[in-house]
């Protein structure tokens, strides 16, 4: 079972002692990501090509909630020759640790896989891609 430290303002999920925010998968749907940014990284497409991905363009997406304790999810995207956006393999990062209904950790790898699965069910593909990260 997991210990948590104080959560701050109402509405913010609690922050655990190890820096993770622990939530069940079902709670993802209830999070409001008020900040969504996507930007292009000119060097990243070449790095992904070297890893064997058909990346013509590439960059990063960042989503975060508001509140005292922020839930943050970021991932690497790439676009192929036809312009469609894809999430790069193994590249969903966050401060989330998803837990079972009995509040046991699912683990970092399984959490990343589930976040990727969750993203596949929501519209994440950016309509606007910035050239640089904006604070």
């Amino acid at each position: 079972m997991n210990m948590q430290i104080a959560s701050g303002l109402a509405g913010s999920p609690p922050l655990s002692f190890d820096g993770y925010v622990r939530l069940p998968f079902e709670a993802l749907a209830g999070l409001e990501f008020g900040r969504k940014v996507a930007w292009e990284d000119a060097d990243l497409a070449g790095e992904l090509q070297a890893e064997g991905l058909p990346a013509v363009r590439a960059g990063y997406c960042e989503w975060e909630t508001a509140g005292t304790t922020v839930v943050t999810i970021g991932w690497t995207w790439f676009a192929g020759a036809r312009g469609s956006f894809f999430i790069a393999p193994g590249c969903v990062n966050s401060n989330l640790m998803l837990v079972t209904p009995k509040n046991f950790d699912l683990g970092a790898s399984r959490t990343s896989e589930l976040l990727r699965a969750w993203l596949s069910g929501v519209k994440w593909q950016p309509e606007v891609v910035q050239k640089e990260f904006a604070a």
Partner: protein, 203 residues
Amino acid sequence: MVTIVSGSTAQLPTGVESALASYRHKVFIEALQWPLPDMDGFERDQFDRDDTLYVVARELDGEVCGCARLLPTTRAYLLAEVFPEMMNGAPVPRSHEVWELSRFATMPVGTPEPLPREETQARRRQLLGAVVQAALARGATRLILVTVAGVERLMRNLGVHAHRAGPPRAVDGKPTLALWLELDAETCRALGVPVASALVMRH
């Protein structure tokens, strides 16, 4: 073939500290153009102290080809002094079990051609493995680092247990965040560090 030495300035072999400061200048100031103090071809700052732990990779001819710096969080360190807001509302770590990793690099500076991707990956793995072993030997169970967002992908490619402490913020125009590196069995296995060393050091 790369050899690795670690220790404080007093513990490093003669000449290694100055070679390290020169390498750091070439990598972080000349190549990456970080806005750091330039001390006539050497890069050092206020966190390079007697108790700072260095991990230095060298080619067979002795030339420095990689580095890392470890700071105890019980004294002044980069995140606590400069970027405390990166902790997502949590207090900055102050513990004998948490060390800060900074100035990590495996960029070669003496060769005109970049290393093949596989060699670069192997050197990252070797150096980070040495960092983890050095930290475990001093009682650390976790590392914290301030880094750019792209490093998360490199960490994931290495297979270590790393997770962000909070969202990225723009620092000098680059998305920058605090990242936890857990010195657990998952990280040790990924880096080829004996898992027993992580478990033994914790009990």
